[in-house]
Amino acid sequence: MSIISVNDLAVSFGSGNDLKQVVKSVAFEVAPGETFGLVGESGCGKSTVLGALAGRIKGWSGAVSIDGDMVGPKRSRAQLAKQQMVFQDPFGSLHPRHTIGRTLLEPLEIHGLDRRQERVEQVLRDVGLPPGFRHRFPHQLSGGQRQRVAIARALILEPKILLLDEPTSALDVSIQAEILNLLKDLRERSKLTYILVSHDMAVIAHLCNRVAVMQDGVFVEIATRKQLLEGGVQHSYTKTLLDGSRGYIPHPR
């Protein structure tokens, strides 16, 4: 039984002469508790797939079912709450003039949930931040701390699925490690399902069970973690990406 099932997903932007198909007939399934990776080069459509799943992008076609529920481009509040998204840039994903507390309270207000203070404190604890941070503004936090807040905001509605769009690519190695560990812990603790977008094969291999390799809007390969680590991938593009993650390879003169 899969918690996410995507069939024939296609997304295009623009209209008329400028119509551009960005994602072309993509299909995949994700089992509950699984972490599914998406990797590919800039502009290949990773974020777009995520956006369609999250309900952010409306102009898509295909069949998407989330938690056994067929969803369309327009979502109800309850449907929206089932999956939440974490963005790449921790500097742009928090409202610069809202305190952390306000940022975390807002989803609770929207969904009319109770025990608000309690929940805020709980979720801050979950992501490893002291409760005093509620009074701070984003510019007073480090990148890693902000990303934790962003994760906390996603978690506060108790979703089943987290959609992670390059959650660590703007962070330093040391901070990245903290966030990756946190994501692992949360996954265990709350039985979460992840879809993780990254361009770093090492990060994907560290966290994901399976990964879809995307090029120009299509999946060229879906590989397992084992295949990545042991070099058992099929597609040449996947291999290039794997090599790139290892650093610079001087070309023979």
């Binding site: 800039s42 330093d172 190695v173 040391s174 560990n181 291999a205 790139g244 001087p250």
Partner: protein, 282 residues
Amino acid sequence: MPEQSKPILSVKNMSVQFPTLSGVVNAVKNVRFDVGREKVGIIGESGSGKSTTGRAIMRLQPDTARVVADEMRFEDVDLLAASEADMRAIRGSRISMILQDPKYSLNPVMTVGEQIAETVILHERLGKKAARERTLAMLERVNIRDPQRVFNLYPHEVSGGMGQRIMISMMLISSPSLIIADEPTSALDVTVRQQVLSILDDLITERNIGLIFISHDLNLVKSFCDRVIIMYAGRIVETIDAARLDEATHPYTRGLLEALPSLDHPRDRLEVLKRQASWAEA
């Protein structure tokens, strides 16, 4: 070759300070390093002072910044004593700088050819025509296939990889002896990165010049550079041969290495850096 071993750049006890509302920020503290005809990487976490160091060498720090040092010598020039006019003559002709993102680092309303040619017109007093010739040759050198056409393109009409190659031609056209590259490839895709780096690598080797390569990608610095300087909180905590980076001893460097997820040595949990106050004082 004794000439070879003599450092091109020698920096002794350089500090950079920014006065701010809440006091003076010491962005760089007493750093000391030499650069010869080699590729020196500078790594460190964000805010550790890498870019500030690079800019201070070219005296391109913001107006508010204060740079002090015991010595800053570039070849035969005392950078501390040089006038602004001296510096202008040095910049672009003897020391060049490659910036991170070609999208923003090129003037959007000038053709790329014009921007490259400007360097030689300025420093070598070449005529328009000669400058154009030189530019076309340089473009060819960085593996651009149709230089005539590219010469007349505007920055928004070229891809990221091509843009970075244009940036490289612009900065290398006057044959500088030192290049400072501040994260030259972090805006590029993995595949493009390879191409750009190999062009840079070739040019450096071919011309036998020095490179300061600023990056926060450990794997990249390890595989690309000859020597690595590791910075933490404005200080150099360690300098080590790139090949021996894995054997680094400083706990900060070790921490960085262990925090890195790796395809070759998968780990279930990553080590988290435990910062110590003493690193910042060392």
